[in-house]
């Protein structure tokens, strides 16, 4: 569920990636270039925080002429494959951006990533400024293999204030409120909820939240541990039933299964007044603010947390989403490269100018004691909401498709798609996921 790439750029990006591979070969593999032998080469993504990365590299290199950082940028989807191939071939960069969770774990299991725990423990002021709930996504067996480098991406419920006002409705506090709102908006000929269902991963946000609200964080923890029969847990079954209930009640806009989440058309349904609500990651704010700036500046965009479920075990302050993106250190890098990279992560990332730059782009970094800075930032309302939401959250669950192994994550998305389409029922979904997990 990380930042998704519009597919139209994939072809060009692949070509660019190929060209970069060739040029990288020319400059001698994973080194930072011929002129600075003990610098660090960083691979990062073009979307999201590229502007901040660029500024940070320029500043760092000015102050540290003897250990330069060099960034190379890639598009999201081709990047995953390029990274895998390059690291598998022993040709990866010194630092690479990733999403933590199951994806990072497969690199850890293959022995390709350096354990950063000793370095973090050696500099408490570095370790202690990061939200522990976020650091958890890159921590396996008590060892930390990555540090967050950009903003948190919790999933929130956005709504169209205008439509709510017209309908005399309040943002939903509980699941029953939400179901009542579905009826209310349907009666007015407005789609209650829009969703980019063709991309499958937006479906997952509903299941993640419902499982958490019904069964608490332990339910998914058991799934992530690979416990036998964990997918048939009563809480998962109940949550899938609630999903089905919402779909059957016509909660989602007609044709939601053919709306792609990459094109911003689900968000467009919200700000054009076709739909009243959308559940989306924090990047949805950027999509809406770009697509309809006047809609946001007029105060028509509302947001709230996922509703509580009466009688459920999960705390309503729990959130799901992408914790942040991480930089991980290659195990194949030389000692000098590692030293330079750790120094950059410690002093160059999340320093004052870095944080200012993130906030300016609407990114909210998972760093403690930022309230004053956020109140002074451009999107203060939104940024402080996200900041407090993340800071107050009892539990911040990493998106399941990132937390699980890529193989199981893929099965999950397809089966979930079938559940939303009504091709399989809740019981069948749980049974099939148990079967897939047992493989």
């Amino acid at each position: 569920m990380a930042l998704r790439t519009p597919i139209r750029v994939m072809a060009t990006a692949s070509a660019a990636a190929l060209a970069l591979t060739l040029s990288a070969c020319g400059s001698g593999g994973r080194g930072a270039g011929a002129d600075s032998g003990d610098g660090a080469l960083v691979w990062a993504l073009t979307q999201g925080s590229e502007a901040t990365f660029r500024a940070s590299a320029t500043e760092w290199n000015k102050q540290h002429p003897d250990s330069q950082v060099t960034y190379q940028y890639f598009q999201n989807d081709p990047y995953k494959q390029k990274l895998r191939t390059a690291v598998g071939a022993g040709n990866g960069p010194v630092l690479f951006e990733n999403w933590g969770g199951g994806g990072l774990k497969s690199y850890v299991d293959a022995g390709k990533v350096t354990d950063l725990t000793p370095d973090l423990d050696a500099s408490p002021e570095w370790k202690n400024r990061i939200f522990p709930s976020v650091l958890k996504s890159a921590t396996f067996d008590g060892k930390t293999y990555g540090v967050p480098v950009n903003g948190v991406q919790p999933v929130v419920l956005y709504f169209n204030q205008e439509l709510f006002k017209k309908a005399g409705a309040e943002p939903p506090k509980t699941w029953d409120d939400l179901l009542a709102l579905v009826k209310k908006f349907k009666a007015q000929g407005i789609a209650p909820i829009s969703m980019g269902g063709a991309s499958k991963w937006p479906d997952l946000m509903w299941l993640e939240y419902l499982v958490d609200r019904v069964g608490g964080p332990d339910t998914f923890a058991a799934i992530a541990e690979g416990e036998k029969g964990a997918w048939s847990d009563p809480a998962v079954l109940e949550a899938t039933r609630m999903v089905k209930q919402l779909v059957d009640a016509g909660g989602f806009a007609k044709g939601f299964t053919s709306v792609s989440a990459d094109t911003g058309q689900a968000e467009a349904q919200l700000y054009t007044g076709k739909a009243a609500m959308i559940l989306q990651g924090s990047w949805g704010y950027g999509t809406i603010a770009t697509g309809a700036p006047e809609f946001v500046s007029a105060g028509n965009l509302g947001w709230t947390g996922f509703p509580a479920v009466t009688g459920g075990k999960g705390d309503a302050s729990n959130i799901v989403g992408n914790t942040a993106n991480f930089f991980s250190l290659s195990a194949q890098a030389s000692a000098k490269e590692k030293k330079a990279a750790v120094a950059y992560l410690r002093d160059g990332v999340y320093n004052d100018t870095y944080i200012d730059s993130l906030l300016k782009n609407g990114d909210v970094p998972p760093v403690k004691d930022l309230d004053a800075k956020i109140e002074a930032s451009a999107n203060a309302d939104w940024s402080s909401y996200v900041y407090n939401l993340t800071g107050d959250a009892e539990n911040f669950q990493l998106s399941w498709d990132q937390a699980l192994s890529p193989e199981l994550g893929n099965d999950l998305l397809t089966h979930l798609d079938q559940l939303f389409l009504g091709q399989i029922g809740p019981e069948e979904f749980c049974a099939q996921m148990d079967e897939a997990a047992a493989k």
Partner: protein, 300 residues
């Protein structure tokens, strides 16, 4: 080149020397045969693309041959092949015969029909994705309920939507084949038929169609074998969804290999794909009489 001169150098009589084929053979070997061998080897291993491949015996093969997903993908590919052929052949045959005339307006139309072939698959997929969008697409904008269906989101419709878009892309190419084939038919045949009192329909049925026999075989072979490789357009248009509704075999291979990181299983699927392609070509050649092609114009 006179035959007398050719006879004077007997070494060349059996065609160009083998050495001249060497570069091509070398390229084919390095870029086709060797990778294919590696894929066969990988199909017997577990490999996530990161570490080193671990021997897995026949595990991947058992899974590929028994898994519902792959079997469904294979079945879907066959269905897709057949439906595509049934849609594309008549349309391109009729269009081809139509634009084979020499009138200027037909030449103009031929140019228009040809345009889809010039656009890349990815671009076509993105265009259609937007046109078929239920909220902001063609149907919604023009307020045409008939056109405003959940084309790419309904498991039944999505399959036919993909068939349609692929037909839109490839009909021009086959039209071109039929146009060329039709222009090869001697005018004398039609003149004779006209004298005998045959109408346009009879002429088409008794002259054009039989004369185009080998064009049909060529076009069908390309269509059927081509159906096995459709990937880019489907990938961008539906990503194999909704559910498994458009997960054709090449797409299944890609998703298994590069999204689930099961390279071994993906290799097994790709070997099945190669085998299916070879088998299909052989069948088409065998049963169409392509191998013993005779002149189409005996007695003319």
């Amino acid at each position: 080149m006179s035959t007398a001169k050719a006879a004077a150098t007997p070494r060349q009589q059996g065609g160009p020397p083998f050495l001249m084929a060497l570069p091509a053979l070398l390229l084919f070997g390095v870029f086709a045969l060797v990778p294919m061998g590696i894929v066969v080897y990988l199909s017997f291993t577990h490999w996530d693309g990161l570490g080193s491949p671990a021997w897995a015996g026949t595990g991947n093969w058992r899974e590929a041959l028994t898994s519902d997903v792959t079997r469904h993908a294979l079945w879907l590919t066959l269905k897709f092949m057949l439906v595509s052929w049934l849609v594309q052949t008549p349309v391109s045959l009729l269009l081809g015969v139509f634009v084979a005339g020499r009138q200027r307006y037909r030449a103009l139309l031929a140019v228009f029909y040809f345009v889809p072939l010039l656009i890349s698959s990815a671009a076509i997929a993105i265009i259609f994705k937007n046109l078929l969008d239920p909220n902001f697409g063609l149907g919604a904008s023009l307020d045409l309920p008939l056109l405003n269906q959940n084309w790419l989101g309904d498991p039944e419709l999505a399959f036919y939507a993909v068939v349609f878009v692929i037909a839109w892309q490839f009909v021009p190419f086959h039209t071109l084949l039929y146009q060329a084939g039709t222009r090869q038919i001697p005018a004398s045949l039609y003149e004779a038929a006209a004298i005998d009192g045959a109408g346009r329909l009879a002429q088409f049925w008794h002259i054009t169609l039989p004369q185009l026999r080998y064009t049909v075989v060529t076009s069908s072979t390309l269509m059927l074998v081509g159906s096995l490789t459709y990937f880019d357009l489907v990938f961008v248009l539906t990503g194999g969804g909704p559910g498994y509704a458009t997960r054709l075999l090449p797409l299944d291979m890609y998703i298994t290999g590069f999204q689930s990181n099961e390279m071994g299983l993906a290799s097994a699927i790709s070997v099945i794909l190669v085998a299916a392609g070879l088998l299909l070509s052989l069948i088409v050649v065998r049963f169409s009489g392509f191998s013993r092609m005779r002149s189409q114009q005996a007695g003319v």
